[in-house]
Symmetry: C2
Subunit: 142 residues, 2 copies
C-alpha cells in the first residue's frame, strides 16, 4: 500500500469520510506482509477502535479494494488482503496454508496482460497469479 497519508488523501478524494475505523484499517494494513484474513485485520483494528464490527471491516476492505489501495485475494478457504498493489505473484503452501510474495519479472507480467487483452479484445483490470506448493518451512530437509 502507498503510505498512510496518500491513502487518507484517496479516501477524501473519493468523497468518503475519514472515520476512525477507516483510519485504523489503513494503518494496520499498511506495510503488512502477512496477507491477513478479514478477521485478522478486524482483531488488530479492535485494539485501537474498541467495538469495531467485523462487518464494518469487511465493508472497508472491499471499499479499499475498489479504490485500488488493497488487493483482494480469492484464496482457498477465504479471502485475504494485500496492501502491496504492485504486480507480484503469491505462493500458497499446500501444507500450512501460508501465503508468500513471489517477484515476477516485469516482462512476464506484460506478456500475460497483452496475451489476455489480445484474446479477449477488452481491457484487463488486474491479474492474480497464485502458485501452489510446499513452502520452505514445510519442506522435508536433507
Amino acid at each position: 500500500m502507498i503510505d498512510r497519508d496518500q491513502a487518507f488523501e484517496r479516501i477524501r478524494q473519493a468523497g468518503l469520510r475519514l472515520t476512525p475505523q477507516r483510519r485504523a484499517v489503513i494503518e494496520e494494513l499498511a506495510g503488512d506482509r502477512s496477507h491477513p484474513l478479514a478477521e485478522n485485520v478486524a482483531s488488530r483494528v479492535a485494539a485501537r477502535v474498541p467495538g469495531v464490527s467485523l462487518s464494518t471491516v469487511y465493508k472497508i476492505l472491499h471499499e479499499l479494494g475498489g479504490l485500488g489501495l488493497v488487493r483482494e485475494l480469492s484464496l482457498p478457504g477465504a479471502m485475504r488482503f494485500d496492501p502491496d498493489v504492485d504486480p507480484h505473484a503469491h505462493l500458497v503452501c499446500s501444507e500450512c496454508g501460508s501465503v508468500y510474495d513471489i517477484p515476477v519479472p516485469v516482462a512476464t507480467t506484460e506478456d500475460l496482460f497483452s496475451a489476455a487483452e489480445r484474446a479477449t479484445g477488452t481491457d484487463v483490470i488486474h491479474m492474480e497469479v497464485t502458485l501452489y506448493g510446499r513452502c520452505a518451512q514445510c519442506s522435508p530437509r536433507a
Copy 2:
C-alpha cells in the same frame, strides 16, 4: 480433462472404486468449458444418478483435483471446476461473473514457474492465473 476411459483408469490405479457417482461426475465434467460450480455439477449428475448428494459431489470433485484430473479454481464467491488441466489462464468478468479460458504462451508459463521456484527454493505444484475485466458480452459497444 483427459478422456472418460483414461480418467476411469486413473481412478482404479488410485485404488478407488468406480461408483456410479464417480462415473457420472467424470462424464458430466469431461469436455465442459463452463467452469461450473459444485452445485451445477451436482444437478447434472442428479439427472443420471437420482438422489446423489451434494456432499458426495464435493468429495469427488476434490478427489479428482488431487488426482490431477480436474482443476479447482478459487474464484470470488465460490470454487469452480475445470476439466482442462493444461496450462491456461482465466478471465473473470467483473460485470457478470462468467469465466473464460485464456491461452497463455508456453514460454510465459515457464517463466512464471521458474521465477517462482528460484524465489522459493522449492517445487511448485501448480499455478493459477486469473485476470479480471469486463467480458465482450458486458462491454459497452460503439
